[in-house]
């Protein structure tokens, strides 16, 4: 999914974290351009059958080649890397690759716990 890094949106995000909106794109804006663009696919995938209210973010890793700039369009592609059950709890690991102009910008690995819904 293509996503435009837009100044006003970045500024609102920065303010919500209490950081100066003039200081560029906060690193964890990746929550928006990497996770926000791909994780919701999970919810609409009937095979994944994820109830969003039972989804808890358990672990998160980001690696950046560089940080995006305002005005730039990035492309995010996500996939389920792992879907396992441990002690009755389902763990879903979702990997996202973000590129800009064909070059890798950011990689995200997100692990979610889905409580109370063992398959």
């Amino acid at each position: 999914m293509a996503f435009l890094i837009e100044a006003e949106h970045v500024a609102a995000f920065a303010r919500a974290l209490g950081v100066d909106p003039e200081r560029g794109v906060p690193p964890t804006y990746a929550a928006v351009y990497a996770l926000g663009t791909t994780v919701p696919q999970l919810f609409s995938d009937p095979e994944a059958a994820v109830d969003v209210a039972h989804l808890l973010h358990a672990e998160q890793e980001f690696a950046w080649e560089r940080h995006p700039r305002v005005g730039e369009t990035v492309v995010a592609r996500g996939r389920v890397a792992e879907d396992v059950e441990r002690r009755g709890v389902r763990l879903l690991t979702f990997e996202t690759e973000v590129t800009a102009g064909g070059e890798r910008l950011c990689t995200s690995r997100a692990r979610f716990v889905i409580r109370g819904s063992p398959r």
């Binding site: 690193p27 926000g36 672990e59 950046w64 560089r66 109370g116």
Partner: protein
């Protein structure tokens, strides 16, 4: 929010600290700004129906605050953590970063002394990664 910065960023060890008391308003503002409007962050009833005590803060809101004590955001090359405990409005969390030669150990502890984030780590590049020279 209050923050403290100490140490030598050029080498050796640098320590940073940020103390945040979470509020519903802040969580709602983050939901709006991030687009993550999962009702467990906004609606007590929905959160309780999901087995939580009430609304909780987003993991990514915690991580966004954790990133503030990691060092120069433009140099951030890696950031990782585990969300170990839920954070609710009224909780006061102390975020700490200790940098040694570009490697940062990150912690977040609540008012009861419990680690809300574990395995917090960051890596800083020698220079900025924001594409600006």
């Amino acid at each position: 929010m209050s923050s403290v910065e100490a140490g030598a960023p050029g080498g050796g060890t640098a320590r940073r600290e940020l103390v945040v008391t979470f509020t519903r308003e802040q969580i709602a503002a983050y939901a709006e700004a991030s687009g993550d409007r999962n009702p467990i962050h906004l609606d007590d009833e929905a959160a309780r129906a999901a087995g939580l005590p009430g609304v909780i803060a987003h993991g990514m809101l915690q991580m966004g605050l954790l990133a503030r004590v990691a060092g120069d955001p433009a140099r951030l090359r890696r950031l990782s953590c585990r969300f170990a405990e839920v954070v609710a409005p009224g909780d006061t969390v102390t975020f700490r970063g200790e940098e040694t030669n570009g490697r940062v150990e990150l912690t977040a502890v609540n008012q009861d002394g419990r680690a809300v984030i574990t395995r917090g780590r960051a890596e800083l590049a020698p220079s900025g990664l924001d594409g600006r020279s």
